[in-house]
Amino acid sequence: MKRWLVLLLAVCLLCGCAAGPQEASAQIFSMDTVIDITVYGDGAQDVLRDARAELVRLDGALSRHDSGSALAALNRGAGGPVAVEEELYDLLYAAAAYAADTGGCFDISVAPIMDAWNFTGDTPRVPSQAELEALAAHVGSERIVFDGGTVTLPEGMAVDLGGIAKGYASDRLAALFAQRGVTSAKVSLGGNIYVHGTKTDGSLWRVGVEDPNDPGNFLGAVELRDRFAITSGGYQRYFEQDGVTYYHIVDPKTGNVARSGLLSATVICGNGAMGDAFSTALFVMGLDAAVDFWRTYPVEFDMILADDDGHVYLTEGLRDCFDASIAEHEYEYIFLSKE
Amino acid sequence: MKNNVHQLTLCAILTALALALSYLENLFPAALLLPLPGVKLGLANIVTVFALYYLGAVPALSILTARCLLGAMFVGNFSALLFSLFGGFLAMGVMILFHRVRGLSIYGVSIAGAAGHNTGQVAAAMVTLGSAAPLAYLPVLLIVSLFTGALTGLIAALLFSAMDKIQTRGVPPRPAP
């Protein structure tokens, strides 16, 4: 009889395990996008609350359009040195460094050109070439002067961290999760992904990579842990004028919409800010320059490039974790090696 | 030679019995548990259990193979063959391993065999459908196998007791209970 009781108890315990771990998720509208966070495990609610507070803080500090932000103050003070706090200083410095690394294909000082296009506003327009040339003259973050605690923007320059802030925010959330001992969490900042640890069953996160030709479907899925995945593509935010499609990724060097033959560029790496900056840069560079950049850049990262001719290029590090079977459409998948 | 004829006859009878049992099984609503054609409770395992102890592993396997092939011929479809082969052989394999374990009675061996049988059937269903979906039925079928296994064991045990009374040549010696 005792034996059967023990048995019954064991079964009950096993069923109890199936009830699943704690889970907390939130949808937050911040940083000009919609942010979804899901945290699993003990104390998930507390971690989520702190994550939300951190995002609100970052939004307040890094938004260009919030006149009270530190970044707005910096832009207003262009032409002279402005004292900025360490976090913003470091982020601006990193952004300027990425601009230098990518040959100006990513540049936070492209802000006045973006304003001229007004992609995010109600009335986007195509600026004249003369206007774009005039504005492009003020672009070039190599001319930003970093001097210990102060940053000096040249006269006429304005910076916007929109191309790096979400990535940086995901870095901050990753640090928060690590500090709080979270073992399982996922974050989407308007499609910029960070997956922390593993799923609660110990398996890797399956990150679907959206198909730029058909956003309801996927190019494939990547199985990841502790990785940032960020895509830049022209297929989401665009407008049409006189039969021409203008999307929101601009080549900072010319001010024109970047038509490089790529439909989307996805970066998968261990640094959110870098991934955010590089996904834009790779898209602007185009296939050949992007591959050269990947081969020579000293920091490891992976990328998925979809061109407008049915090819999907993937770096060799993704060979074992990429699953193309979920793709609805036929693509030719080509793996890139460093050789 | 006489022994062989005796064994051969017994094998034939047991094969016929197994076939009859697997036909009889069709009357049981196994389809309610796993709604797939070809799934059976595994009552024919009574014969497997008996043959395994009474004749040994090799004759038992011969009977099983003959039963599966003939049964499929009667039903006339390939998936039925797949179901009975997967179920039958997995049950057989488990029981061959377990029937030598000292301390396990015919009930324990039968239950293990029934669990193996149902697992095999689910595996066959997964192969047939090319999907992992039938796996969802396995927990229920495993619980069911406790009962079918115990029933199989009981019938086999009764059979052995009866055989004891009509003790004929070739019956293995059995210690007093």
């Binding site: 992904i193 959206e210 956003p215 989401q236 | 004749l55 592993a57 396990l104 009675s105 324990g108 059995r174």
Partner: protein
Amino acid sequence: MNTFSSQKNNAVPRLRPAPLDAVVVLAVLVLAAALFAAMLPKQSGGALACTVSRDGQVLDTFPVEENSPGERVYGAYTVSVAQDGAVSVTAAPCAGQDCVRTGAVRRAGQNIVCLPGRFVVELSGTDGDGSGVDIVVR
């Protein structure tokens, strides 16, 4: 030729339940429980569900099924379900129309967002073809 094994080597059956039998029963039960536990999340996930929310407040949740096309109106927004179960936003009040251009979503984890209106349509649960994606990079 004797094709049968010698009967002398055959095991002798124990005809009464033995203590060790309980171990077999336990093993089968544990296996069943473990399998059941492993499959629970999938079962509770159920079919594909669509959640419509505005400003973080859930307005509506409905199951997405094939062959039940229709339109649902939430203020100035219209959410359409196509014959094949694809969900799209077909009308929106904003100038950008990003959410309308996003097109149709079909799989769990995908969403359509109208940022100005803070209007979100998202799919959850399990999709029919089992892409099994946890999150989507876009």
